[in-house]
Symmetry: C2
Subunit: 372 residues, 2 copies
Amino acid sequence: TASSATAGKRLTIGLIPADGIGREVIPAARQVLEALPSSVLAARVGFVDLDAGFEYFQKHGEALPEETLAALKSDCDGALFGAVSSPSHKVAGYSSPIVGLRKKLDLYANVRPVVSGAAATASGARRAIDMLIIRENTECLYVKDEQQHEGPDGKYALAKRRISERASRRAGEMAFAMALQRDGMRRLMDDADRTWKGRPKVTIVHKSNVLSVTDGLWRETVRGVHTGNAAYRDGVDVEEQLVDSMVYRMFREPEAFDVVVAPNMYGDIISDGAAALVGSLGLVPSANVGDNFVVGEPVHGSAPDIAGRNIANPIAAIRSAAMLLERTGHAAAALAIYRAVDCVLAAGNVRTPDLGGSSRTSEVADEVCKHL
Amino acid sequence: TASSATAGKRLTIGLIPADGIGREVIPAARQVLEALPSSVLAARVGFVDLDAGFEYFQKHGEALPEETLAALKSDCDGALFGAVSSPSHKVAGYSSPIVGLRKKLDLYANVRPVVSGAAATASGARRAIDMLIIRENTECLYVKDEQQHEGPDGKYALAKRRISERASRRAGEMAFAMALQRDGMRRLMDDADRTWKGRPKVTIVHKSNVLSVTDGLWRETVRGVHTGNAAYRDGVDVEEQLVDSMVYRMFREPEAFDVVVAPNMYGDIISDGAAALVGSLGLVPSANVGDNFVVGEPVHGSAPDIAGRNIANPIAAIRSAAMLLERTGHAAAALAIYRAVDCVLAAGNVRTPDLGGSSRTSEVADEVCKHL
Ligand SMILES: CC(C)[C@H](C(=O)O)[C@@H](O)C(=O)O
Ligand SMILES: CC(C)[C@H](C(=O)O)[C@@H](O)C(=O)O
């Protein structure tokens, strides 16, 4: 049952479907949020439809309109973002709206749980996986500070990669805190239901054998979060992986990872790799988290090849909605969604094509609602 | 039989075992090179032992001594590099010798064939893979131009990522030329032996949805190599993949890739991922290629956990030696090594632990020699 602190409150969620299948999976997530019984979510949910995306850019000359940002800040408790298409050629003035959103709302960590379940295993994953990827979400190459120059041998271009102590510390804090929190949750579970059975562990990803200064700062700062906190020191193990080895090991022994913390670009790459291991990108949710705001976002892209056909898997978006609820103080409602999704996946009869089925996006959403 | 052009010539190979298992796999590769019968390699092979590595740095204060570079340039036709250890903390003055070697000898492309075979399949790979990764080898974040600064919120560090038209063009040239060459080779094979059955294809990896300037230049330059050459235009298909999707798709449908061309850092990450797909990093060779020199290098690292125990898989190093022969005009000798390795893998009784066996490094080398 919903806690009294949130009972009767209003929860306003900004919906930004953006491009491609974002326009199918965000409505599916909305449908599930609306179907939550008041026994698990006492707050009344309201929605605000907001614009952004590449298609919007093509019509209006901007990918992330000021009104969207203003509405998020003044009217919303959180938001759901769909997916954004990539221009197939360089387009002057265009800049990814999700990258902009992360920076402008200071959503400094991207939390990506990658968990295998019955359905995932059936569709190709071979092993139990229960990884939580914490991706630094504001800097690294994503500062997008790039210039092109003309040199004696032709054109060349330079991009800046920025790593700061502050951003590294915040990502590290999130990683260690989540490692302990996950451990607490696991203690409430049966041993048979637990994938990770060891002590909580954080794997720090970097490439400091090449980037000794930037990744050196990253690694030392994240390590510093561990050594500077008694609860982390006593309760959480730390290890390091070079990003190339990380991808290798993740494929060879994914069960060896608990919480993984990575700079922005490595985190982007690793989370797609991890998604492949659990059977489909269509299953993996994320939350862009800041101190004051959260934006749920499926890890998948806009999938132009299947857009508009009502066959995209809405589960990543639905799970992202649950992550949004979890982070806005509605844990019971989040849990109800996670469980309903797990039931649908375990039953296996209602599945989109990415999982080997032939169900439609809307049928999966309906089915999840039935299990709430 | 060896071609008359190379008969009687001398082939001098620099050996740089460097750290860890590099000291076990390079001698194994040397043993195989020495065992080549004169019917396949008419050149007399000589070796020059050269220093480099992190351990060397700890003793002598430099990781890539001038003498090594000088000897490579004046005395050697090519070289084999083992592996290099990464310092576990930041070490002033240390810089990776393999990265230095690539730059100083202008070895602008790193050619990494990732091919599944009987042994690979037995040890976990599920599908036929026959990918050739061309990794740009001189720039991107590997220019190692980094600085640390003090800001109002604490320390921050900046690294430069450089992408030039020239380096992109050279990597692109290599990719399209190799795509055609592979196709020529395949036409000589039985259909049943061919993994890739379509037209030659080059997949350009980038992240231009975020790095529109640097990766925009990369992508347009590599595309330009294709459109600017009639043989490439007529004979090779081109596609693009964002690096995150690339890692995802590579896991889901590795058989969909022929030649893959990537900027330095993405190439580093992708090739480790691809190695996981064929069962072991211990199988995957590479060649660092320039216009005037080639350095064979196993894709694996120095593996400190198993170093000194004579259990490292020498096949990646042995195959790297074959790539070196191929690139220095000794194709028949290279082929003899590739075939001998394939026989040993197919027989399956002599395997190192990474492939599920219990043979020693030296036993694998002996076995390969028997099949030459
Ligand atoms: C669309 C793109 C800019 C984005 C990213 O790279 O962060 C996406 O891949 C993601 O993972 O959310
Ligand atoms: C050792 C390291 C500097 C190197 C690289 O990143 O290039 C290695 O991972 C490789 O792939 O050859």
